[in-house]
């Protein structure tokens, strides 16, 4: 019952953040009113470093295939892999083929693969090897000649930051970073470089890292990927806030009591011990993802959705973020201890392989921030993230103030909580509004109910992966969804004092795996007379009230009905 070809669909719905950035504004065949023709990347080569890594295999290569399958890659698009492997083009193509087969979102089609495969090249070598980079330069120039890629190159640095200086210098030395002169028609080829988090481990290292890249590539050609910003729901924050009249009037201190931004994971550190220890939850998640979510939630309306206006507003709000006066009371951190998670017995952080027994790295972090603007004065923003918690969930919850007066008997509203608006980022993307409703019956009794909007119900069967969207934006050269260096530095300015305080003063508390985090985090909320939203059910603060609607994804319960495959997320029925 799969739709045999979700592949050729046009741009995903609800792309509020972007005004179609034409690849060639002079192309008479493109018309902004012509919404059927998708934004297609212009001719180019993507050069990928770190092709053997997990990210490349599980996300990047499948995303490229999915883009090709949806008809969004230009004819002649080419992919060059660079790694320390003794491979030929065919070996790399085989690796790509396998990762596409296993991880691509859209159905596998041989013709699409053939198209992609014709442009796959591999260059073996060390990052320090001049000859290998000369070889790389020769390869991409040959692609320009053979496949009409027009001298446009995107360099995807899917490698640890310690290699950045070498690779960036090599790109410069081999002439690859130089776009060259204008051609006769006034076209200058482009160079773009894509980097992934971590963008340093504090303000100082973030600046160093930026200097390295900045020395070779101009700021506008550096694309920092925060894959959260590629998610439909995150972009939908902009639509929700700025396309509606319903929410803006209450989106401020007069109505909002506080905001909770949560990213919880049910897994431990897995095989990332080497990376994770010494970094910790705050640097790994709060510095980038959660502060970006905070910025989008709290920022003022940008005058337009172009990159500059959007980033300016985000920067303004990030620069207005203030830390709690007493960091001991306004932050909490923890380390997962052994316990049971999801029905399985799991080891504690200190027992994980590769983690020193006296590690003080936190796997859970919670902070209470305030935003010193007229809109948000006095409204705390609670950010928390942790590993090995009850379930995997990312959400932004605006908790509203209680009604100033309730003309009911106290017993009638006993079960009435605060109203809430919850943007569910993952899984089960959507928006929940929580409000009081009369329980049917002769007595007046008011109880909390949820009103849900779920993406899977109203829009597509599977929305594009964040990486698809972001890679396409890189190739098109459309920057609004990529944080710029100023945002990175502002985020570190917020986090650095907290990290310093933690390093000097506290040891992370132990918390049981499979729970909701350390008691100190609960105590931090309790001191403010508030409580964390429970991590139990999607969008629920209390056990779910009777559903106002059901999901059609649920297997039908009536006999004789055909099996209905799960439609959200990864497809299995290829």
């Amino acid at each position: 019952m799969n739709m045999p070809n979700a592949g050729t669909r046009g741009p995903a719905p609800a792309n509020p953040g972007v005004i179609a950035a034409g690849v060639d504004p002079d192309n008479p065949l493109r018309d902004p009113r012509d919404r059927r023709i998708p934004r297609v990347a212009g001719p180019c080569v993507m050069v990928m470093f770190g092709v053997t890594g997990d990210l490349a295999r599980k996300k990047l290569m499948p995303a490229l295939y999915d883009l090709a399958n949806r008809g969004l890659l230009p004819p002649g698009f080419s992919l060059v892999g660079f790694a320390r492997r003794d491979w030929e083009d065919e070996d790399f193509a085989q690796i790509t083929y396998e990762s596409v087969k296993e991880y691509a979102r859209t159905p596998f089609r041989d013709t699409v693969w053939q198209q992609l495969q014709e442009g796959v090249r591999f260059v073996p070598g060390e990052f320090t090897d001049d000859a290998a980079f000369d070889q790389l330069a020769a390869t991409v120039r040959q692609l320009d000649a053979e496949r009409g890629t027009g001298g446009n190159y995107a360099f995807y640095l899917s490698i640890p930051p310690k290699f950045f200086p070498t690779v960036v210098q090599q790109l410069k030395r081999s002439g690859l970073s130089d776009p060259g002169p204008e051609d006769a028609d006034g076209h200058t080829p482009w160079r773009r470089v894509v980097i992934e988090k971590p963008f340093g481990r504090d303000l100082e290292t973030a600046k160093e890292l930026n200097d390295i890249v900045d020395a070779v590539f101009p700021a506008h050609s550096v694309f920092r990927i925060d894959h959260y910003l590629g998610k439909e729901t995150v972009q939908n924050i902009l639509a929700l806030r700025f396309a509606n009249t319903l929410y803006e009037p209450i989106w401020n201190r007069s109505y909002v009591d506080h905001v909770q931004i949560t990213m919880s994971e049910d897994i431990g550190i897995g095989g990332r011990a080497g990376y994770y220890d010494g970094i910790g939850a705050a640097r790994d998640v709060i510095q980038n993802h959660l502060l970006q979510l905070l910025a989008l939630t709290a920022m003022e309306e940008p005058v337009s959705f172009d990159a500059d206006s959007l980033r300016q507003e985000k920067e303004k709000v990030l620069s207005a973020v203030r830390l709690p006066a007493d960091l001991a009371l306004g932050t909490a951190r923890g380390q997962y201890a052994a316990g049971w998670q999801g029905g399985r017995q799991v080891a504690g952080y200190l027992e994980e392989e590769g983690i020193p027994a006296d590690s003080r790295t936190e796997t859970y972090a919670a902070v209470r921030l305030s935003v010193d603007t007229r809109r948000w004065a006095g409204v705390p923003f609670y950010l928390r993230t942790g590993k090995r918690l009850t379930r995997r969930m990312t959400e932004i919850a605006l908790i509203f103030q209680r009604a100033p007066h309730l003309p009911f008997a106290a017993t009638d509203t006993k079960e009435l909580g605060k109203n809430a608006l919850v943007i569910r980022v993952q899984p089960d993307e959507g928006v929940t509004v929580r409000f009081g409703s009369k329980v049917p019956g002769s007595a007046m009794e008011v109880r909390d109910v949820n009103m849900d909007f779920a993406y899977g119900e109203s829009f597509t069967e599977s929305s594009p992966e964040a990486y698809e969207r972001l890679i396409l934006d890189v190739l098109i050269g459309d920057p609004p969804l990529f944080p710029r260096q100023e945002e990175v530095e502002l985020s570190w300015r917020i986090l650095d004092p907290i990290e310093q305080f933690w390093a000097e003063n506290t040891k992370p508390d132990q918390y049981a795996s499979g729970g909701a985090g350390p008691a100190s985090a609960d105590a931090m909320m309790a001191r403010d007379g508030r409580a964390w939203r429970r991590l139990l059910s999607p969008g629920g603060t209390t056990p779910r009230t009777p559903r106002l609607r059901a999901r059609w994804q649920k297997p039908p319960i009536i006999s004789g009905a055909q099996g209905n495959q799960g439609l959200r997320g990864k497809r299995t029925g290829k």
Binding site: P4, R9, G76, Q115
Partner: protein
């Protein structure tokens, strides 16, 4: 579950739906539109199947309207399918006798409140879709000129009766080709002096693309006849030689550019479900289609009709529109 109601009323259908929804535990309140399919007994199976597949992307209530035995007494039979193959609800409405002339009176009470209505004629298109009683209920009216015996005449009729919100599958089928042609001209290229499109004799999609090219590029675009399947060749004539896209197997196209290696691009012919899903994605009037359709109208279809024998040399050229002429 399937519920059969014979000799029934819309009130009874509505009640049966509510009841079914309650028994299934509150299904399908997330429907985003109502899709009316105007079809007949022979074609309904394929049409409903395609609609159910498209409903995975656009959960909807499907109302299939089938008129039968116009001479019989008026009667309404309904077949309700919920919680089955599709995420929405499907109601097959069979109308006998004079009732068939008043299908809108049956359909109107069954529209999902507050959401858009789309009417789709998978087979013969009405002369003026917007004037059809079931078309008048909808803000988007989808026809398929290629399904008729003489697509070109149908297209001409649709052009004459065009109302904002009309669209035709012949245009939907053009999207992948148009995307590829647009992407081709995204690259720095020599000035295009003419266009050419080769396809089967009866291929309204090719006619539309030729019209679109001549309209947008302000150059003559000719349309030649080939053995198919579908569109086989598109060509830009430039100073430096021809840029040519060929597709002889209906699956993979080859882009030939003077002085460069040929490149292959996947270019599938799509099935009905995909076409329908594309149509349902945007429900506002398609202005580019309207302009193209108007433009196709200025070229006399008769010329090609005269050359209807399988031949490869005859051409008809759609000239640039008068306002774009020299």
């Amino acid at each position: 579950m399937t519920i059969d109601l014979t000799d029934t009323t819309t009130g009874a259908i509505d009640q049966a739906l509510t009841e079914a929804r309650r028994r299934l535990g509150g299904m399908t309140l997330g429907m985003v539109l109502t899709l009316i399919i105007v079809t007949d007994e022979a074609a309904q199976y394929d049409a409903i199947r395609a609609a159910n597949q498209a409903a995975r992307e656009h959960p909807c209530r499907v109302l299939a309207v089938i008129t039968r035995k116009p001479k019989a007494d008026s009667r309404l039979d309904a077949e309700i399918r919920v919680g089955e193959a599709s995420p929405g609800e499907t109601i097959v409405l069979r109308m006998y006798g004079p009732l068939g002339q008043h299908a809108d009176s049956v359909v109107a009470p069954l529209l999902v409140p507050d959401v858009p209505v789309v009417t789709w004629w998978p087979d013969e298109a009405p002369e003026i879709p917007a004037k059809h009683p079931l078309g008048a209920l909808a803000q988007r009216r989808v026809t398929d000129s290629a399904a008729s015996e003489s697509p070109r005449e149908v297209l001409a009729a649709l052009a004459a009766g065009y109302q904002p919100g009309d669209t035709d599958f012949a245009w939907t089928r053009a999207t992948p080709w148009r995307s590829l042609l647009a992407a081709t001209l995204d690259q720095p290229h020599p000035a295009v002096t003419a266009g050419e499109l080769a396809a089967e004799q009866d291929n309204p999609t090719a006619d539309l693309i030729a019209a679109w090219l001549s309209l947008r590029l302000e150059v003559p675009a000719s349309r030649t006849v080939s053995g198919g399947p579908g569109i086989t060749e598109a060509e830009f004539t430039t100073m430096d030689g021809d840029i040519r896209i060929t597709r002889y197997d209906g699956r993979t196209a080859t882009l030939a550019w003077p002085g460069r290696t040929d490149r292959r691009v996947a270019l599938h012919r799509r099935d009905t479900a995909e076409l329908l899903a594309e149509e349902l994605r945007r429900l506002d009037p398609d202005e580019v289609y309207a302009e193209t359709l108007r433009h196709i109208d200025v070229s006399p279809p008769a010329e090609l009709a005269a050359a209807s024998e399988p031949a490869t040399d005859e051409q008809f050229v759609s000239e640039p529109a008068a306002e774009f002429g020299e």
